[in-house]
Amino acid sequence: MNTQQKWIAYYTILIKEILRFTRIWKQTILPPVITTSLYFVIFGNLIGPQIGNMDGHRYIDFIMPGLIMMTVITNAYANVVASFYGSKFQGNIAEMLVSPTPNWIILAGFVSGGVARGMTVGVAVTVVSLFFTHLQMQHFWVMVTIVILTAVLFSLAGLINAVYAKSFDDINIIPTFVLTPLTYLGGVFYSIAMLSPLWQKVSLLNPVLYMVNGFRYGILGVSDIPLWVSYGVIMAFILMLGGYSMYLLNKGTGIRS
């Protein structure tokens, strides 16, 4: 395949993925928007004023970046894990496997689909947040790059989960028992400065902490973690998971007998 043909193959997978999640928007876009709105109402408007300021910002302003990031993470992951596993389950992953489309294009297509859904829902949640607070955007490009890189990272994680999954139960275990705890304990609702020194150190093992804080720096200009460390951790995970995904696709794990 020449470069143009590869671009067409990539674009085809991306369009297919975008059409898939927009066709079922009541399942993919609406629920996270409603859930996050409830967070804004309950934690931001009702409980928030009782808590007071955090890191020099109103509580609702403090949790807004974390809530957006939480939505992006869960949706990017959910899109790829559901779509890739669905393709395996129905057998239509074979449509790509029999074609000359290289594995890295297949990976890029699915990951871009995850990023597209993560960003779509992220933008929708951001728009909803404007009803409760105002968006500051202290460092616009930091905000944009951190959110995109995070979506890439969790799309890759979703693909690895889908490759190994043998049933629909398998695609729910990781989000429920790993992703949700990591996200909730990743500094979405609090600053780790509030924790004891021991738990601060334990929290540093949570990769989500670096993403939430990097994104919070982009919006509010405050972070528990130095910005370069956030970028470093995210990039390291992307390289690690990306490399492992390519290894699995080339080997044919879960998709070739």
């Binding site: 067409i8 085809t12 057998g91 496997l97």
Partner: protein, 309 residues
């Protein structure tokens, strides 16, 4: 003549230790209409899976129009169109999108893919369903959709794994015509089927796989010529009271019921003309006749039984 498919020493052992292919050598020439037959579990689908890159091989070489599947994978894959045994498209996608997307995976621009998809869907009688979700199609339509999808990139080698399974006779015949035309236009076709009448009607060459080994690879005519006995069933105009006596043990008559006579004869010693002369001498009037069994079916069973021994 170019070899469309060249398989050398192909072996496959699955993770559970089951050896599905025990070193198969197979060549299919360009332009051929080739039947790959075998009982369930014989190794046909594994062979097709390896050729179409859906199954990893354990050993051996596969060349498709001269492209090595190991070292020139993209070029080799671009030559093949696959119609798998099971429905394997996204049931929730519209028909036309399934075909157009497949074109995209082969690098065909979307606009061009739409034009090709329209042509194919019209040829296969699916254009009216183009915007419907695939799950709403009947079984026969789903089979035709898989054929349309496999042809979007105009492959030089089309592999069909039981394409007419569960399809009614009318649609099956129309699919046969479509495939004949495609083959006449230059597409090499490999067909697996359990309908041996289908293989006999469509294919020029034949390979038979049994227990992971290729036990036969020859021309269809040559294979059928090996059958030394022909059996015909005659429907008679009036009931027979006695079985007609034959002069030789090379021809044998059986009265199935008073108006149905079965005649079996050795092809080397008898012709159908002689059988009719004999019936005339006996003043037996025949209203209609048919082959007792499909000839290829008979041979297939003999070969597979022979391999068991």
């Amino acid at each position: 003549m170019t070899t469309a498919l060249d398989i050398q020493g192909l072996r496959k052992t699955y993770h559970n230790g089951f050896t599905a292919l025990k070193g198969i050598d197979l060549q299919v020439e360009q332009g051929d209409f080739f039947a790959l037959l075998g009982a369930n579990g014989a190794g046909k689908s594994t062979t097709i899976g390896i050729v179409s890159s859906l199954v990893n091989k354990t050993a051996g070489k596969v060349n498709i129009f001269g492209y090595d599947l190991d070292t020139q994978r993209e070029q080799a894959k671009a030559q093949i169109g696959l119609v798998p045994q099971e429905f394997n498209f996204n049931m929730f996608e519209p028909v036309v999108e399934i075909v157009v997307n497949q074109g995209g995976y082969y690098g065909i621009p979307r606009q061009e893919a739409f034009v090709r998809a329209e042509t194919l869907l019209k040829q296969l009688g699916l254009w009216e369903k183009a915007r419907e979700q695939a799950r709403n199609l009947s079984g026969g339509m789903k089979r035709r959709l898989m054929i349309a999808r496999s042809l979007i990139h105009q492959p030089r080698l089309l592999i069909l794994d039981e394409p007419t399974a569960g399809v009614d006779i009318e649609i099956r015949r129309s699919m046969w015509e479509f495939l004949r035309k495609l083959n006449a236009e230059g597409t090499t076709i490999i067909l697996t089927t359990h309908y041996l009448e289908e293989a006999e009607s469509l294919c020029r060459n034949i390979g038979i796989i049994d227990k992971g080994e290729l036990i036969e690879n020859t021309g269809m005519k040559q294979l059928l010529n090996r059958l030394d006995t022909e059996s015909y069933v005659f429907d008679l105009a009036s009931p027979l009271e006695h079985l007609p006596a034959t002069s030789s043990n090379l021809c044998h008559c059986t009265l199935l019921d008073p108006t149905t006579l079965e005649v079996a004869f050795h092809k080397e010693h008898y012709s159908l003309n002689q059988v009719f002369s004999f019936l005339n001498q006996q003043s037996i009037t025949v209203q209609s006749m048919r082959n007792k069994t499909n000839r290829l079916e008979q041979l297939f069973l003999e070969l597979v039984e022979g391999n068991k021994a």
